[in-house]
Symmetry: C2
Subunit: 430 residues, 2 copies
């Protein structure tokens, strides 16, 4: 049997403690499957006194995580500190510089600095593994990098943020409004006190940028992702979506187009009949459409102690088994700079919801604006009649370009009988 794999874990929040627990609980299984024991030798966190539900006295303690990178008896540094810069980045850089493999769950770090870190690791013959950074427990990084690596991908998309999916599912289930469900999710611990990264789509965009690099061989380019969240989705939209045969999900989607790589995160109406429409609550799912394999769907828990620890430990198992792979499937030296398709050039159907005064000629005015932008209406519904009062008008368009849609929405907003800024949700035909 080969030597034990000696591990240092930096960051002892829920996930860090979960990793230490998993490695301890499954010691026999891991030794057998890896042909060598996995051994945590050191840990690092700021507060030594906190009870983390796991015995930590057997491990050497570092107050300064970066100092851990210097330890001669550590083979792999597990970075679970989080944050795109600061100590997390300093630790990963130091670890690679000292010849240590790295496992990280840090999507912000990988989305911002993944290409450079991958280059450094590969130049040094080291592994930089990050399965836990995308879709938690779902082994999607491995699937794209290895299991589906013989394919070119027409499209990669997924539900990448469990908090948003929980909120949207709960809004649909109860008919309640976004702010109300968010407040409850915060009280239950399903959403952060500062939920911005989740509900504004940033977290999903970090993950999408990583998936794009894996699938298409470009340097990770977070700034090229169009990012929008779910704050503007209302109970009424969810209800109309159901009536039209859709459900609303926050999707991240990447695909090559004639204008470059499209990467976007936003609320979408997806057809009820598509598998991803049935992924509910805090579950995540990723769909990869390969030219040979066809549509593959991967679903599981995207966050939480157990699922994230499962992914971190899978990365450690790969290192213990001496699997060394290009970080983003394509060797880092060959990753090309990404040309981003401008969001203005996006083409798709759109859902529009308007509050208009119920008076003669309103629909004609709206229809004229759409005609001027060459936007064709697929269906229209107006609920109720209330002459002189505001009523809701819902429009679904055929495929049109985002730029034309934005111009039309801006003109419609300026029409006198239109009572509030128009609501728009993109429809994704999956």
């Amino acid at each position: 049997m080969r030597n034990e794999l000696k591990i240092g874990v930096a960051g002892l929040g829920t996930v860090g403690a979960g990793v230490v627990k998993l490695i301890t609980a499954q010691a026999d299984l891991l030794r057998q499957r890896c042909g060598r024991p996995l051994h945590v030798v050191a840990v690092s966190a700021r507060d030594r006194s906190r009870d983390r539900g796991v015995a930590l006295d057997g491990y050497r303690w570092y107050d300064d995580a970066v100092a851990m990178a210097d330890a001669d008896d550590i083979d792999v540094v597990v970075e679970l500190i989080g944050g795109e810069d600061g100590p997390a980045k300093a630790l990963v850089e130091a670890a690679i510089a000292r010849g240590k493999h790295v496992v990280t769950a840090n999507k912000a770090l990988m989305a911002r600095h993944g290409a450079g870190l991958a280059r450094a690791a590969e130049d040094a013959g080291l592994s930089l593994n990050y399965e836990a950074a995308v879709a938690g427990g779902i082994p999607i990084v491995k699937a794209l990098r290895e299991g589906l690596a013989g394919n070119q991908f027409a499209r990669i998309y997924g539900i990448l943020n469990g908090t948003c999916n929980y909120i949207l599912t709960e809004m649909e289930r109860t008919g309640r409004e976004f702010e109300d469900v968010l407040a409850e999710a915060q009280a239950l611990g399903y959403a952060e006190a500062d939920p911005t990264f989740d509900i504004d789509g940033v977290d999903a965009a970090h993950k999408l940028a990583i998936l794009t690099s894996l699938a298409y061989g470009y340097s990770v380019d977070f700034d090229a992702v169009f990012v929008d969240g779910i704050r503007h989705v209302s109970a009424a939209d969810i209800e109309y979506a159901a009536e039209l045969g859709y459900r609303i999900k926050l999707l991240g989607l990447a695909r090559p187009t004639d204008d470059g790589i499209e990467q976007r995160v936003h609320a979408c109406m997806v057809p009820t009949a598509t598998p991803i429409a049935h992924v509910d609550d805090a579950f995540n799912a990723v769909v990869a459409e390969g030219d040979h394999v066809g549509r593959t769907v991967f679903e599981g828990r995207g966050a939480g102690e157990g699922p994230t620890a499962s992914a971190v430990v899978a990365d450690l198992i790969d290192i213990a088994r001496e699997i060394r792979l290009p970080t983003f499937s394509t060797p880092a030296a060959d990753l090309a700079p990404l040309t981003a398709a401008p969001m203005d050039r996006h083409i798709g159907p759109y859902y529009i919801r308007l509050s208009v005064l119920d008076q003669p000629g309103v629909i004609a005015d709206i229809a004229a604006v759409l005609r001027d932008e060459e936007i064709s209406i697929e269906s229209m519904l107006q609920r109720g009649r209330a002459p002189g009062e505001p009523v809701t008008v819902v429009l679904v368009t055929h495929e049109t370009q985002e730029a034309a849609m934005n111009r039309a929405l801006s003109r419609i907003a300026g029409l006198a009988p239109v009572q509030a800024p128009p609501k728009m949700i993109r429809i994704e035909l999956l």
Copy 2:
């Protein structure tokens, strides 16, 4: 760049031709992702003259596949001949004996002889990869062996046969009977002329036996699988299932019990709300329930040229990248013999459909039989009234043991007013 990986492909049916096509079409991508070219140097099949939709003149031709194992310029033999014995087995054994890696899509071979072949390959430091043998294009072998390898599994189950899933979906969609839909599927080429292996569950059982070994660390033991198919499922059962909140799927399921490992393949009623209930047509899906990761679902195409070639090429990519892993995750030398839980000890709810004469006391007689076996009735429905004529009675039981259920069914079959052998379908609470 390392030397090219030299490949011999034996068996040039749809999948073999697809593998050659994929390697040719994606040559640049594969060279980049593997850091070396993948190069087919030889092929083998019986009939040289057949048009396979791909140019084969550039490759050395073997009439005898086993002779290919002797070629000095081949690094990997791809076995796509099929069959659990005969030339497929001879070729794989010869290849391993001559120090060549093996990639196979042969589930029958791996289910029958996997443990011994794995031992031979691992003793020789060779890879024996078989991603295509289970669930086609879905990288489930890799997921269990690597991506989820830090978990113990409470249960592994899936829709493992696309032909059966297609037939059941089509029966549900059209209300037609099994024989009718099977005949159509055969005419369309979705089912084999001799469909026995598919519709009687043997193909799914081969795949399940492989998954069990991967997930639980036992030697593959096909003979320990309880196998039943879908011939007995009727349009009426599908209709009653819908009414009761279920869909009927052919499932393969493995789990550890106090009596040993339960491995079974049979038609199941699964709750409509569970993800696997929505896997339709020829799609396959596998669900792995890990103690840390929770429920993960993998869905995709389980057969066909492109998906199967995708899986075969993924195995070749692993070999080109010099990934060497224990064949069944646990090293072959450590695989334990499996203790099979007897099917008689299975516990679950049951659906029973009876044709009985509509006369006083019939239900009381049936209920008495169930009471005698301590089987408790969850619900009962009788459609229509036709005194003296046969009517359908449907029963759903609470959890009970298979042995008790079989005794009860045998007694019920003997009751005078019971017009035909009772139909029974197991319900699976997922």
